[in-house]
Symmetry: C2
Subunit: 135 residues, 2 copies
């Protein structure tokens, strides 16, 4: 139910970057200080986000991190996937490794379905524009 530390770091960093103007780059160092996240660890997280196409990273003087596209076009699913992997697509409650189809469902299928749907909808419909902020 709760995301890993890496995922949370990613969400917080992006929510903060999204409060800046489109062209303005944010320094990794400033991100780490503002969010109180170990700088060396955060840099790995940001690198992952850059590789997956969510962040645009530029080195050198006047470099930093910017969103690769408008915040309303970055779904939380796009952010979470590289860190949570298969866990971002929850399966059956009692057999998490299975896709959890409706046919041949396990005994917990109907009870669990509601949570799964709320979760999936949240990741697919919520964007950085919705959670943008500095906390």
């Amino acid at each position: 139910m709760i995301f890993s530390a890496s995922t949370t770091h990613a969400l917080r960093a992006l929510a903060w970057i999204a409060t800046h103007a489109a062209g303005e780059a944010v320094l990794g160092r400033d991100l780490a200080r503002h969010l109180k996240i170990p700088p060396d660890y955060l840099s790995k997280v940001l690198a992952t986000l850059a590789r997956s196409g969510v962040l645009s990273a530029r080195r050198g003087a006047r470099g930093g991190y910017r969103l690769a596209r408008g915040p309303e076009r970055i779904r939380l699913l796009d952010v979470v996937m590289p860190f949570e992997g298969a866990r971002a697509k929850p399966g059956c409650l009692l057999r998490p490794e299975r896709p959890c189809r409706d046919s041949g469902a396990c005994s917990a299928h109907s009870s669990w379905g509601g949570v799964k749907n709320a979760y999936r909808e949240f990741l697919e419909k919520t964007t950085l524009a919705d959670i943008r902020g500095g906390m």
Copy 2:
């Protein structure tokens, strides 16, 4: 969003025990074989469930595990809590260590609230009677 291995083992074991008659004890060894869970690891999980008052464990010949009370009186929250701890009570999306109150909410509060509520309701309203089964 997905429970730990220990939690999943616990849920599967209880769902299977719940299919047996009230007085009938189930052997740990049989549980492990039926659910294909490492016996020594499962025994720790079952011991935790016994300590937390969900299972009644009896040693010796004709011993085994039985539900401590009727399956409709065992909420999934009672099962999950000892394993997931604070994670069973999800907090704020961007500040997971915080309670996530409505006042002074973080920027993700409203989007995240729906998922949190579905999750909390699931754990509080679903009982072993709802997920009982052998899968």
